[in-house]
């Protein structure tokens, strides 16, 4: 099996409460984004955060899993929209923890039935590496709805 390597860098200046960092997608060059602790735990104020990056990772991981499961089931999707919400909470005695990832998918797949979608959604959740990782320490919920199916 090929090993695929992806890399990111962050340069952080100053203390956590007053300092700030810039996170860079080093493998692709696709983004370079400021982060601060205030925008991580409070109002995002236009800045991303580790949890938002994780939400983007989980959404983009799940979307490919669901697409390939529908294809395998003979009901290829024309379009899949996935919305992911990651929740971080302060847990007594443990500090801040990521406690939940919620996936909501909307699927346009003309040959799909509710049963096919449900089976594909379950298989996609099991097949998406990030779902499995997050589920080891937090809850993951997955919800999929069909648009334009039978």
């Amino acid at each position: 099996m090929p090993r695929i390597i992806r890399e990111a860098d962050i340069a952080w200046e100053g203390t956590v409460s007053r300092g700030s960092g810039v996170v860079t997608a080093s493998s692709s060059g696709a983004f370079e984004l400021p982060v601060t602790i205030a925008s991580r735990v409070g109002d995002p104020d236009g800045k991303t955060s580790p949890e938002e990056l994780l939400a983007a990772a989980h959404a983009s991981c799940f979307v490919t899993s669901l697409g390939s499961e529908l294809h395998r089931a003979g009901a290829p999707a024309e379009r899949v929209d996935v919305h992911c919400t990651i929740t971080m909470d302060e847990v007594e005695g443990k500090g801040h923890l990521i406690v939940h990832s919620a996936i909501a998918a909307r699927v346009v797949a003309p040959n799909a039935t509710r049963e096919i979608l449900d089976a594909a959604t379950k298989a996609a959740d099991e097949g998406c590496p990030l779902s499995a990782l997050i589920r080891a320490s937090a809850t993951v919920t997955v919800n999929a709805t069909l648009e334009g199916g039978t």
Binding site: M1, E7, F31, P34, I37, T64, I86
Partner: protein, 142 residues
């Protein structure tokens, strides 16, 4: 409690189709294209779930380390962190390698490594990804 959101749209098949991270809750980035080829082969300027995980982990680790050093009375002037995520299709994410170089006035390398190990073990993204078989750390003073 903090909720953070992202939205992705995909059209067409896995191999020939493509997706877009259309928007994120903060508005900080997007649209960003993602394709299977750019995830599993050459990135060709496109991000991937694994690169986003690397970015999330590097940022989370740096904040935790900065916080730990400040609490210990030896705040960092700067921290440069890299995270490298290894993905094996069909198996999953097999390894995350963290590497940090810190400028911390008045702190020895042993104490810096200890603080970095604490951040590696304790930051929320490390805890969320604790099931990754191998999370390594290379910490040194700049």
């Amino acid at each position: 409690m903090a909720d953070r959101t992202a939205h992705v749209s995909w059209s067409g098949s896995l191999m020939e189709g493509g997706g877009t991270i259309t928007s994120v809750g903060s508005g900080a980035f997007g649209p960003l294209d993602v394709t299977w080829a750019s995830r599993a082969e050459e990135s060709d300027g496109r991000t991937s779930p694994e690169e986003l995980i690397a970015a999330a982990h590097a940022a989370c680790f740096s904040m935790a380390l900065s916080h730990g050093l400040a609490n210990a009375g030896t705040p960092a002037e700067s921290l440069d962190t890299s995270a490298t995520v290894t993905f094996v299709p069909g198996t999953g994410i097999t390894k995350i390698a963290l590497s940090v170089r810190g400028e911390v006035p008045g702190l020895g390398v042993a104490a810096f490594r200890e603080a970095a190990e604490g951040a590696r073990a304790g930051c929320p993204v490390s805890q969320a990804l604790a099931a990754v078989p191998e999370i390594t750390l290379d910490a040194a003073l700049a």
